[in-house]
């Protein structure tokens, strides 16, 4: 089933990397949105819930980045390597690879 889907999307083993990248971006966006909403909220109950969700979003982002660093999908401390990876992904995404 998975092979079929991978062939269908034409990404092969890229699928996991794409999913992880998307998850990382979603986590980042989630943190920002939550923080903005929190600064706008005044009702204590609302602030309580948003603060809890913000803390959750932060720890979830931490887990995802740790996973990606460990798998070599993300090099936040090595600019050259990260750019190379990004350019590779760009080629794949635009179908030039």
């Amino acid at each position: 089933m998975n092979t079929l889907l991978e062939n269908m999307t034409g990404m092969g083993s890229m699928t996991d990397q794409v999913i992880a990248n998307d998850l990382l971006i979603a986590a980042k966006t989630g943190i920002k949105d939550c923080a903005v909403a929190l600064t706008e909220a005044t009702t204590p109950e609302v602030r309580q819930i948003l603060k809890k969700q913000l803390d959750q979003a932060i720890s979830s982002h931490e887990k995802i980045s740790a996973y990606m660093i460990q798998k070599g999908l993300y090099h936040p401390t090595q600019v050259k390597q990260q750019i190379q990876l990004d350019l590779q992904n760009a080629q794949t995404a635009t179908g030039l690879a």
Binding site: I19, L23, D33, C34, E40, T43, E45, I49
Partner: protein, 77 residues
């Protein structure tokens, strides 16, 4: 503001008077969480690495809870 909170559960919040901009903010978050939940649930089937599957599963659980909390407040409006 006459909130009667009996427990930390969001469901027990009484009639809360939310400001208009708060309602807007909450429904914005709710719809983004809805998309996130749908996406992570779908991606679980596509991911092959078990560790990534676990991360997605955790995200699904977390999103579900967040949606419940936000819905509980918005349904009182």
């Amino acid at each position: 503001m006459n909130a009667t909170t009996q427990s930390p559960q969001a469901q027990t919040i009484g009639a809360v008077n939310l400001a208009t901009h708060e309602i807007l903010e909450m429904r914005e978050l709710l719809s983004s969480k809805n998309v996130c939940l749908t996406k992570s649930a779908t991606m679980q089937a596509l991911a092959s690495d078990p560790e990534l599957k676990t991360l997605l599963q955790q995200d699904v659980q977390q999103s579900k809870q967040a949606i419940q909390e936000l819905s509980a407040i918005l349904s009182k409006v």
